[in-house]
């Protein structure tokens, strides 16, 4: 028998809590709904038993919704979160998303809004935990392309993975072309498929786009799978063990790159260090600096920093984090701050891919 999901509702207004409880009771999955009238009470309840979803108000006395979310993100990173508020300030909306919430909802006032709210909550609590491309939950990009090709669709898939953007042209169920950075055709297609997660959008077809890929999608997907298998088998070869990548890899080709250090959390030795001798000191500074500004982000209720840039007359450094890997990347002094930020994010996304 499937277990009932638990939802925790937090609001300082008991009347509203009762109303939302009644609304959520009507969900098809019939979740177990608990309520808390303060942030502190909500935190205590979350400590005592596992919940699937937290729905919180923003404006509450003593501990506000942002403070609750900040604690929840740290202590219960897998808990799904929804903000339900009458505060329609864009700044608070941005800060709420920065805390990694799944949905930001204005308190529903009409029957239609209530229905939409119910649908969204149902979809959120029933959603699988697996990674996938947003839009088609728990489907890989290969699945997505197969769906488009099998249904004989004509479309352009625009796929984003952090700062990386790729496009795949499909006409009448056939792969016509792909593009990712400087890559085109089959090479670009292979590169896009190597991305583990991201966002996609289906854009209108471009029937006049020239066909560059001549192979069928089946043949190309098969080749892609074989290439991944070979890459995984080669992961234990001496080149991989030395932490070096071939000179032709896209990170080395980034304009202005001076050095590159990747650090795995909990490891003292860098996972990869290029063009730098004795990277340990720099690695230590990177770790403490990222940790420091993560903690500051928590205190200011800002979420996590996406980059920390250090600019100097001799050169610049960009620090960032992708999952459990931290990066310190050195750039030539001729780059400006915006270029350093963009290139740092690009290099880390390429490494993580």
């Amino acid at each position: 028998m499937a277990t009932k999901h638990k939802i925790l509702l937090v609001d300082d207004d008991p009347d509203l809590l009762d109303m939302y409880r009644e609304i959520l009771k009507q969900l098809p999955s019939a979740p177990d709904i608990q309520i808390a009238t303060s942030g502190a009470r909500a935190i205590a309840l979350l400590e005592s038993e596992p919940y699937r979803l937290l729905i919180t108000d923003l404006k509450m006395p003593r501990m506000d919704g942002l403070q609750v979310l900040s604690i929840v993100r740290r202590k219960h990173p897998n808990l799904r979160t929804v903000v339900l508020t009458s505060v329609m300030d864009e700044q608070f909306r941005a800060r709420v998303y920065a805390q990694g919430v799944d949905l930001f909802w204005q308190k529903p006032s009409t029957e239609r809004e209530i229905d939409m709210f119910r649908d969204c909550i149902e979809s959120l609590i029933e959603r699988d935990d697996q990674a996938g491309f947003r839009g088609v939950q728990s489907k890989s990009l290969v699945d997505l392309i197969q769906i488009e090709c099998l249904s004989q669709s004509s479309s352009v898939l625009r796929i984003t993975n952090g700062p990386l953007v790729g496009k795949i042209w499909i006409n009448h169920g056939e792969l016509f072309d792909a593009e990712a950075g400087n890559l085109q055709g089959e090479e670009a297609f292979l590169h896009i498929l190597s991305w583990k997660s991201g966002n996609f959008e289906v854009m209108p077809s471009e029937p006049r786009h020239a066909r560059v890929i001549q192979k069928s999608y089946n043949a190309l997907l098969l080749e892609t799978v074989q290439a991944f298998d070979e890459a995984q088998a080669g992961a234990s070869n001496p080149t991989a063990e030395s932490g070096m990548r071939p000179a032709s890899d896209p990170i080395s080709q980034l304009s202005g790159l001076e050095f590159f250090v990747a650090l795995e959390q909990g490891q003292t030795k860098p996972a990869e260090a290029r063009n730098i001798e004795n990277p340990e000191r720099l690695a230590e500074w990177t770790r403490t600096t990222l940790k420091r500004f993560h903690e500051l982000g928590d205190k200011l209720q800002l979420g996590q920093p996406d980059t920390v840039l250090g600019l100097g007359l001799q050169g610049h450094v960009g620090l960032t984090q992708q999952g459990k890997t931290e990066f310190c990347i050195g750039w030539r002094y001729s780059l400006d701050a915006a270029e350093v930020r963009k290139s740092t994010k690009k290099a880390s996304a390429l490494w993580a891919s």
Binding site: P61, D89, Q91, A94, T288, P305, D306
Partner: protein, 106 residues
């Protein structure tokens, strides 16, 4: 009694808006000048100053010669310029409307 209840009503809970402005901190951590709104808690101003100064000091110890730090949070940018052991720090809230991509989380 109705009139009195006007004064005894529960105060509306408030949340701290992200400040826009700048401040200067000297090498001992003292805030010298600030254009930040007084509603922004002083403890948070001191916290930012401390973290920025420490980062500059540790960068120097790691033989990194940095004159400026830029910390990008999703809704706030902190820009800090090194001033002989102290720092001139700018806080710039980022407008969601000018941040493409955030809506795609929905």
């Amino acid at each position: 009694m109705g009139f009195l209840s006007l004064f005894s009503s529960k105060p509306e809970p408030t949340m701290v808006h992200l400040p826009s402005g700048s401040f200067t901190v000297d090498r001992s951590g003292r805030i010298l000048v600030s254009t930040l709104p007084s509603s922004f808690p002083e403890t948070l101003v001191n916290e930012i100053a401390t973290q920025v100064r420490t980062t500059f000091q540790e960068a120097k110890a790691a033989e990194l010669s940095l004159g400026e730090l830029v910390i990008h949070y999703p809704s706030l940018k902190i820009i800090a310029r090194e001033l002989r052991g102290g720092a001139l720090i700018f806080l710039v809230p980022i407008n969601l409307a000018s941040t493409p991509g955030i809506h795609s989380r929905l």
